[in-house]
Point group: C2
Chain length 189, copies 2
DNA sequence: CCGCAAAACCTAATGGTAGTAGGATAGAAA
DNA sequence: TTTCTATCCTACTACCATTAGGTTTTGCGG
């Protein structure tokens, strides 16, 4: 039989596609084996176990998100940077629901340190630079923004806004306006 | 053999306990059958399938959360109401991580309409009453608050704040201060 | 008190996912 | 050409979910 040429890389890559197409819950070693027309047991030479694969997909998702965040923040400041960063989150959630879910897969501390998560936080800090916050307040602001981005995207994706007027877009806009105002008038404690 | 006296009620009840003790992922029909010392197949007389049970737990979680929200908002207004409502969310997430996760289990439209989710939204609206927002802005404010509460709780629970100073409590405080200010100075479009 | 019907619970089977142990082999290097 | 090793396989165990259809308990009407 001809060898397919499996690789951890290829598995994670295919896992990303699969998660995005069918949802993170469908991301299973068995499904991946079917896609490569290979027996399930064969995958264990390249991947420690199911969670290992999912962690790989999660790390890739975080990296992709961080890439976009870096790009969005570059050359912008103030509200423009804030909005660009926000759109990155919401669009990513909308276009890659599987990866967006994967990005919240629990990672070990070692996996987390070098991940895109840290880079994402740095991009947020950079986006805030224009607001001139005190050093000590920057973390709080990052957490506020991160919470809103994540929460809103999740609720929208989960359909929580589906059965109440008006369009989520408007709420998103108003939310960003409000956050911008908050950051501009941030009072140091 | 003596009959255990299974009921959909008792199953959902036990499911809530189990989810809270061991996590929502452990909530499985097989585990429940073991707890009641009953064969797995026996559960299907009381519950349509695994998702049906999880939906039951989810609805109960939403109800519980809505109960606490109603209680927190009653007799309070303005920032006091806002903070009380916020604490309900964060404490609920901290004390009942399993139920908190369950509350985000995807529900069908029919299940969702009469659920605690709607009541929760009403409690939020009530909490906002003191800020005197225009009718059209209230939804946006509710969505802003809901997003922050959810996002922050998730990030904290997921350990995203664990490896950066300072304590999440302070960020939470500052975030609520910021939201309070935002609501007070909300400008109608 | 008795019989019977519905409810409660069971046995038995199927099929899907995860994971381990150990064997066969393709393909490259010696 | 021979040998070696990564690659992939067979064969198994152990979970969970679900359905079909059988048996026993229980309580209610007679």
């Amino acid at each position: 039989m001809p060898r397919v040429g499996l690789t951890r890389e290829r598995l994670v890559e295919a896992g990303c596609d699969l998660a995005d197409r069918e949802g993170f819950a469908v991301l299973t070693l068995a499904e991946l084996a079917r896609m490569f027309e290979v027996k399930l047991a064969s995958l264990y030479s390249h991947v420690r176990n199911s969670d290992d694969l999912k962690a790989g997909v999660a790390l890739r998702a975080l990296d992709l998100l961080a890439d976009r965040a870096d790009e969005a923040v570059a050359g912008r400041a103030g509200k423009e940077a804030l909005v660009a960063l926000a759109e990155v989150h919401r669009h990513f959630a909308g276009e890659h629901p599987g990866l967006f879910e994967a990005a919240r897969f629990p990672l070990s501390a070692e996996q987390a340190v070098g991940s895109g998560g840290a880079r994402l936080a740095r991009a947020m800090l950079a986006a805030l630079r224009g607001y001139g916050l005190a050093e000590a307040d920057q973390v709080h602001a990052v957490r506020l923004l991160g919470s809103f981005f994540l929460g809103f995207s999740l609720l929208e994706l989960g359909g929580s806004f589906a059965h109440s007027q008006p369009e989520p877009d408007l709420s998103w806009q108003r939310g960003l306006d409000a956050l911008d105002l908050t950051l501009k008038s941030w009072t140091t404690t």
